[in-house]
Subunit: 670 residues, 2 copies
């Protein structure tokens, strides 16, 4: 009888069967994902070490208080550097080890913001003094930009750094409550030093706008705050996310720092208070760009975890009509579910690849910046502005990861502000192509000299049968459609700038960024064959996964495609036939998903995420989700006592009062 069937044992059978079904070589694809076998082995080795170390145990973190989570976070940070030291990890080893810690730790901002900004912009003198200490965490830093009332608009920051020629010092000051530095990671309780964004005020009160200053915050002997500095933790964040990170506030009351503490590689103040112009006005954005390109990679892995958990659970969870085996169907077999899950998997693969490409681009820019060449800066700024929005807007909601991600909507630039930056770059490129009035035809030489993020403005050559069904499987058609849509959106914006509609800026930003990503995905597809790790069948499966990404990108923008006539409307309705011009694409998505379904568990395994990393009962590797859920429930502290403390305090008085009332009522009825 089906009712006495052991669904928990069935979990393992279902997972094993799904694993056997996959035709890809999981190891090969895994090595491809990790960019080669050695990188995978490095990570695997670190996972082995860390997952067995009790300091990195995750089983009790759910029930910790905020303060306990903070303490645990720092124990992990300290332990990691202890291991680095004792095991002789390389810089890259430590970087990968840090990425394995799925708690938002104070160290992250030291590594991704404080240190790179310092290295890029400090004078040689300051580098000599502090770069070594920063690299070994002999001092612990934070990056202090945002203020209580000021975020993305750096020009409006209120904190001042006034130059005092007499003593050759800067005086850092917070004139108002709203100028308090706010939200700064590691500032609350941990950091000993910080890079502070403040308005440089020169003698005579001349305001030179925001510049960066290196400021010691706490004593290296006692960890007490230095004189004139008030600082603390800003309190719990949405959904209790980022709990181990002491995001903090700080106010400066006329705090003096030596003149050489200005990060002055590109902008200097002379001893008598004159300003020496930097070669590029936006030089200080360098740090933020680095964070943004890292965010794409991070978004890729967060998406990957969500996809692995959801696909594994959907593989073992059964619900709905019974099949020939007398069991309910595996829910992943329901089209309504797998057309939602497989696109998430495709996004994970795309973002991971894209993040790698961006990080390489950043490294190239940093190389050039350090020698004063700012030519790549504007390009990378435009690219990462739109990308950051795209990555975090298209996130699937997934387990507790989401809570840590929520602030990403605003930090490193509020999403809609970034949209406008992407739009500005698009408009600029448009005017280069079509002239200031948008009416001239672009010459071939103009097109060739456009930066890569403007690829989409090159008029694509559409084939005749673009709305027929076979084209929906052709990556080049899909990419051209996305590029053509971006061009038409930019054109639309250019024509209606005086009276923009409600959403045109967001649509242009999304359209241009999606075209940029689509072109990169095209490069990934054509590059697959050259990957030494992959076998021909792996190449075919990955190609289809990338095409699914392109298809669903087009689908999510159908209103644009239809608006601009890029999809042909079908001939006037015949009874008994589809009247929907979008059906071809939607059917193609359904088909490609059905084709990828047998590969789903293989593709999730190839992401190489251990149970320790996933920390999810639903997503366990062996498939025994029900047993894992049951086991975890038994750890809930409320279950330690059969009768909770609340019984004597609240439940019993309530029940007794109710029983008396009921008795009285029943009595009065008689």
């Amino acid at each position: 009888m089906a009712s006495s069937h052991d669904a928990s044992a069935q979990n393992a059978v279902d997972m094993a069967n799904a694993r056997n079904q996959a035709s890809i070589d999981v190891s090969s694809v895994k090595h491809f994902v990790y960019n080669r076998k050695e990188e995978w082995q490095r990570k695997e080795n670190l996972v082995q070490i860390m997952s067995k170390d009790p300091v990195f145990d995750k089983s009790k973190r759910e029930w910790m208080t905020r303060t306990e989570k903070y303490s645990r976070g720092l124990r992990m940070v300290n332990r990691m550097y202890e291991l680095e030291h004792s095991l002789g990890w390389s810089k890259e080893d430590t970087k990968v080890a840090t990425s394995l810690l799925d708690d938002a730790l104070p160290i992250n901002l030291h590594v991704t913001a404080f240190e790179p900004v310092f290295l890029l912009q400090a004078s040689q003198e300051l580098l000599d003094k502090y770069a070594g200490l920063i690299a070994t965490r002999g001092i612990f830093g934070c990056y202090m930009q945002t203020e209580l009332a000021h975020g993305s608009n750096v020009a409006a920051l209120e904190t001042t750094a006034t130059y005092i020629p007499d003593t050759k010092e800067f005086e850092i000051h917070s004139p108002t409550l709203t100028s308090s530095k706010w939200w700064i990671g590691a500032l609350g309780k941990t950091a000993t030093h910080g890079v502070v964004q403040a308005k440089l005020i020169l003698p005579g009160g001349k305001d030179m706008g925001p510049h960066l200053f290196f400021v010691q915050l706490r004593s290296l002997d006692t960890h007490h705050l230095l004189h004139g500095i008030t600082a603390g933790d800003i309190g719990p964040k949405s959904f209790n996310g980022n709990a181990p990170n002491d995001n903090g506030f700080a106010r400066f009351n006329h705090v003096r720092i030596p003149k050489e503490n200005m990060l002055s590689k590109f902008a200097q103040v002379t001893d008598d208070g004159n300003y020496v112009q930097p070669p590029h006005a936006k030089i200080s954005y360098g740090g933020m760009l680095y964070i943004r390109s890292g965010m794409v990679t991070a978004a890729g892995w967060i998406t990957a975890k969500a996809a692995v958990i959801a696909i594994r659970y959907a593989t073992v969870r059964r619900q709905g009509n019974r099949g020939p085996d007398g069991l309910e169907k595996q829910v992943i077999s329901h089209p309504s579910l797998h057309v939602r899950l497989l696109p998430i998997l495709s996004r994970a693969y795309v973002f991971i690849g894209l993040g790698r490409a961006l990080t390489q681009a950043f490294d190239a820019m940093a190389q050039r910046l350090s020698s004063g060449d700012t030519s790549l800066l504007a390009e990378l700024h435009a690219t990462t502005s739109g990308l950051k929005v795209l990555c975090y807007d298209s996130q699937p909601v997934s387990v507790a990861i989401y809570a840590d991600m929520v602030p990403s909507v605003t930090y490193e630039g509020e999403n809609f502000v970034l949209d406008q930056q992407a739009v500005r770059a698009a408009l600029k490129a448009f005017r280069v192509l079509f002239g200031p009035e948008g009416k001239s035809q672009p010459s071939a030489s103009v097109i060739q000299n456009l930066p890569p993020s403007s690829d989409y403005l090159q008029p694509p050559i559409l084939k005749d049968d673009d709305s027929s069904s076979s084209s929906w499987y052709d990556s080049e058609t899909l990419i051209l459609l996305l590029e053509w849509r971006a061009a038409l959106l930019v054109h639309e914006l250019a024509q209606t700038l005086q009276d923009p509609d409600a959403t045109i800026y967001q649509r242009v930003s999304k359209g241009t960024t999606e075209a940029f990503v689509a072109r990169r995905v095209g490069e990934m597809i054509s590059g697959l064959k050259a990957q030494p790790e992959l076998k021909p069948n792996d190449v075919d499966v990955l190609r289809r996964l990338y095409i699914l990404y392109l298809q669903t990108t087009v689908e999510s923008a159908l209103a644009d495609f239809l608006s601009f006539g890029l999809l042909r409307l079908p001939s006037p309705s015949r009874l008994g036939a589809s009247r929907d011009p979008t059906r071809g694409l939607r059917v193609a998505i359904a088909r490609i998903c059905v084709g990828l379904l047998p590969e789903a568990i293989g593709l999730t395994d190839a992401l190489g995420l251990s149970d320790w990393e996933l920390d999810s009962a639903l997503g366990v590797y062996d498939g025994k989700a029900y047993q894992a859920l049951w086991d975890r429930a038994q750890m809930e502290p409320l279950n330690a006592k059969e009768v909770p403390d609340a019984y004597e305090e609240s439940i019993k008085p309530m029940l007794l009062r109710g029983q008396k009332m009921a008795e009285r009522k029943a009595g009065s009825k008689l």
Copy 2:
């Protein structure tokens, strides 16, 4: 100088100015929202009492452990009933008081599921014995349907209730791990009794499918679990949401209950074990429908809180270019922001009104059901299936409220399962209209006899200028468009049932539900003038707010409208002109938002949500968000010590190690 400007004091000025700008009579609109003055006063009175009572204080809950949150929750429940008793609250008073508690409390399921199901389906004998105790909370109940491996598909539940003729008892049993009841609110530690969904097994092993049984779980003397029952809390939930609710698990090991404990108003077992057929197969869905209609109201108020907080903060937050006053602009004045916020406000007003209408419909159904008339059941089932999905899918992400809401995607029916139920109803109505082949023209009498949720299938009469800009402000045009789109989607589905595309089921469900809601919104608009509370100007503002809801509903479905040719494409592109057929609508949305902007704070005030209810620093009534943020940060327990405990344990060792390493490296360089 702008930098020394007191932005915190400016907060209050900005809020006061915005409040003065509104032309609506806030009291009048408030009385309309609360369905009349007396209802508003009832709530206001309860808020006065509860917000001053220390038991309902919210200031420390963020830092409580799970167990502390549970205990606090029950203190609140007990205190509320103490107040009910001592102040002589009516049943309606208590209902409103319960709705004011913004924590997910174990009592909610007693009130919304356990009690109504019991009252609807228990025999007179059982009612006499327990209805009084349930009403006074002399016993505390839960509703036990979901199992570890089984959710929406009730037919697959594994728990059995086997009838034993010898002793006239049922034996409740959980044959497997996966048959454990799971996720059940109040079951973990609180409930004394429960209504259990179990498969009724008659002598000879005949499986009669799921039925409901009334089971005592814990001793009323000691609160210990009764013999044969294992139960506990399932542990923390996503984002630490629903923490005060002891969602629980339970296993039954051959637990005997008397025969009269079967809820047998509509289905009975005779003493010798024969089954007496119920008049309507789906009778037991009654309870779930009640929860669903309540969920629409709840979604309305959750949306309202999000809208109030976001709009108030956007009113005082300034960012971007400086205006003539030398200040940055209020962010709500940025079109990219207000076109996102005002539609959320419109949804709040729509859902609150819709929830009221649905609750009235449920009351009517319950009235009929209690006399055995099931005629309204199918209709309400179809309506609420789609609505629940719509309400919770279109939620704005908002503060901590979100965490409590996440499970709503699956509880009371997983969203995509519900979609299919709405679709089934739509297809049935379609076949009534157009015949089994979808080819015949419907007769007038057939149309007149369709139930209200099928309104959208009546062919709308479109005007000539539907895609011209003036029509976008006309509610009837917008409603007809939504109805016509629903009809075409159902037609498309009917034509392609054999080979459905990836998303057609979701689109049909969304389309038909949005058409249903749009028609109700049309009724709300035409009913405004008859509202005694409202002045003509209030009617005009609310009408525009409702039209914004309709406009944004159409906008979110543009791909459908364009697919089916419901929007005319513009003539072939002229240079210097818009080529976008959706521009008319999008401009209309931008315009209506600009027009509503001065009313925004008035409309949020009219929702009548006190600071105690909102519990948000960003959304304080007086506008002083920065001061409130600062004050709250000072309460963070991490700030109690200047140097955290983690310093000696982790930070100091890490810094010292780093300093030594840096010294060594510097030394080796020399």
